[in-house]
Homo-oligomer: 361 residues x 2
């Protein structure tokens, strides 16, 4: 078992990463505080892991709230149902809310924990690769609003994160690939050695070898914690975590949210951002090609939908929240393994990159 400490002063917490941790009553005993526990999970995850988790919680009072599965349920109304359960039991201020599931479950359980009686203890047990490498660090919680994703939420740090790579055995291939997009991202923006390791060990990862999975989750969390610790509030440093996301959001918007998985859009977006970085002369063509090859290696798309034209990207990217005073701010690679949020680039490079990647090219 690997242990990473996310350093936030008084609010520091451990991320524990290993195989078969869900069966480990000692880990649960040590890292899940409280005598009363509310497990928030969903209808897909509950049949797979709920019994195991409940057993490992021992003789504590365990209450379960099962959400419907899917991003479309990540609403204030569904969160309200968690509050109903908390008050129906009732759970007191000493309750620990445990999120058992992927990003949607974590976002909603974390939001409920952040708001119930102005904040109760929260523990994450992420069961998808994306949530294991992304949601474990940063303290973000949220629900969606019809007018925008993650518009309603709070920052609420967990007391601990327990990551069992065994849960990835049941993860569908397409979701595994989507998680890999974020893993590749950490290498590209902050850790060229890790990027190289991913190239070398791609087969072990593909085979979901437990040791390889522990390593990629550990390195991803370390890199994210490193970036976030340099910038706990969402300022310019943290923005580099959005590498590939501005192009990616345009794709998600164009095809309609849910058609492409977020990770798929980010994968393609990273290829485009790396290509533009090479066009600006900031990284070599070889390194740009490495990004494309690794994204492709894990089964992610490397070209946007054929229906999208340059103008679609320009229009949709201009709407993105990373726009400041008219200039489209982009996260690009100043050098390989070093990303930066920039708006002082040569605009022709953006136009040429879009032309290259769209149907009109």
């Amino acid at each position: 078992m690997k242990k990473i400490t996310v350093d936030l002063g008084e609010r520091s917490y451990p991320i524990l990463i290993g195989d078969s941790l869900l069966d480990d009553a000692n880990v649960f005993g040590e890292h899940i505080p409280g005598l009363q526990v509310l497990i928030v999970t969903n209808e897909t995850i509950a049949p797979l892991y709920l019994d195991t988790v409940t057993r490992s919680l021992g003789d504590r009072e365990v209450v379960v709230h099962v959400l419907p599965d899917g991003e479309s349920f990540k609403t204030l109304e569904t969160a309200s149902g968690i509050f109903d359960t908390l008050l129906d039991v009732p759970c007191d201020r000493g309750v620990t809310i445990v999120a058992l599931g992927g990003g949607v479950v974590g976002d909603m359980a974390g939001f409920a924990a952040g708001c119930y009686q102005r904040g109760v203890t929260y523990v994450q047990i992420p069961t998808t690769l994306l949530s294991q490498v992304d949601s474990s660090v940063g303290g973000k919680t949220a629900v969606n609003h019809p007018a925008g994703k993650n518009m309603i939420g709070v920052f609420h740090q967990p007391a601990s994160v327990i990551t069992d790579v065994g849960t990835l055995k049941t993860l569908p291939a397409r979701e595994f690939a989507a998680g890999m997009a974020e893993v590749i991202k950490y290498g590209a923006i902050n850790d060229p050695e890790f990027f190289q390791w991913l190239e070398d060990e791609a087969s072990a990862i593909d085979n979901r070898d437990p040791a390889a999975l522990v390593h990629i989750i550990e390195q991803s969390c370390r890199n994210k914690a490193d970036v976030v610790s340099r910038d706990e509030r969402e300022q310019n440093v943290r923005a580099i975590l959005n590498f590939g996301h501005t192009f990616g959001h345009a794709i998600e918007n164009a095809v309609g949210y849910g058609e492409w998985l977020h990770g798929e859009a980010v994968g393609c977006g990273m290829v485009m951002a790396a290509s533009m970085s090479a066009r600006l002369g900031w990284i070599s063509d070889t390194d740009s090609a490495r990004v494309q090859a690794l994204v492709q290696r894990f089964g992610l798309p490397v070209v946007p939908p054929a229906s999208m034209a340059s103008e679609d990207f320009m229009r949709l990217m201009a709407r993105d929240k990373k726009v400041a005073r008219g200039a489209i701010r982009l996260v690009l690679l100043r050098e390989f393994g070093l990303a930066e949020l920039v708006s002082d680039y040569d605009v022709d490079a953006l136009a040429e990159t879009l032309a290259q990647f769209t149907a009109s090219a």
Copy 2:
């Protein structure tokens, strides 16, 4: 104009207290950041002050969200309407949410500010005595749930509080009296000199003399900030702010919320808590009588409803959140001007106090 700084390190903020501050574009210019402002107010307050406040905001983009008036609307559903407005405009992360109104408006606007895009700037313009002396310090925001008051909320500190005592001219007498209960409380629990001042200047306060009002709000905020700074999280020190509240909540529960105003129940509860403190020999009978006289002087009730028996108090107080492991914890006066959360008192003193104050006596 008086200025108090609530010292919270990076999140420190000023409370400005004066007459006619709502007309003062300079105060608004200096203390309300942002180019885009959402004013949250209610249907009672809007006709009185909305034009003035909007004018003082100068040429900023001002959006208004008017809530229905009343505690029954302090719900997640009504808060959701504020999010709808924010996203309909749309307001970006730089928006400042201004609460113009009493405690309910402040709680809801503050909750919305705490959750919109994981937290935006918040400014309070409290227009009731209760909100001016109570909600200005502590950073508490919340909405109610059918199963309990203030069950869903966050801590979110304001960027500033602008208190115009001129708004108290239009405050109904009963609400003014309810606010005075909290003012008296600060004297009793933390500031015997201020208690004496209230006795001496009762007429000026009753006449709503602006200088007297500025003074009571200033001293109340200073005392609350003093208590809260000793205990930013809700631990034992902060609990003394609940002086009179355990008896008071029992009354509110017995008669049904809304029949007695919260301040009325707290006024009577303080008289009972002071009486019990004297019975324990912790304060003199004279000081207990002073509490009763001052509560009565401002038109607040000093005996509970005739329908309540000792058993009603015991049953309802046992349900209160200040119960730990079976013992009813109470905030009592260890000496006059010094409150403490205790559970080691002689239980006969509680029984005798309840007998004295209820119909069976």
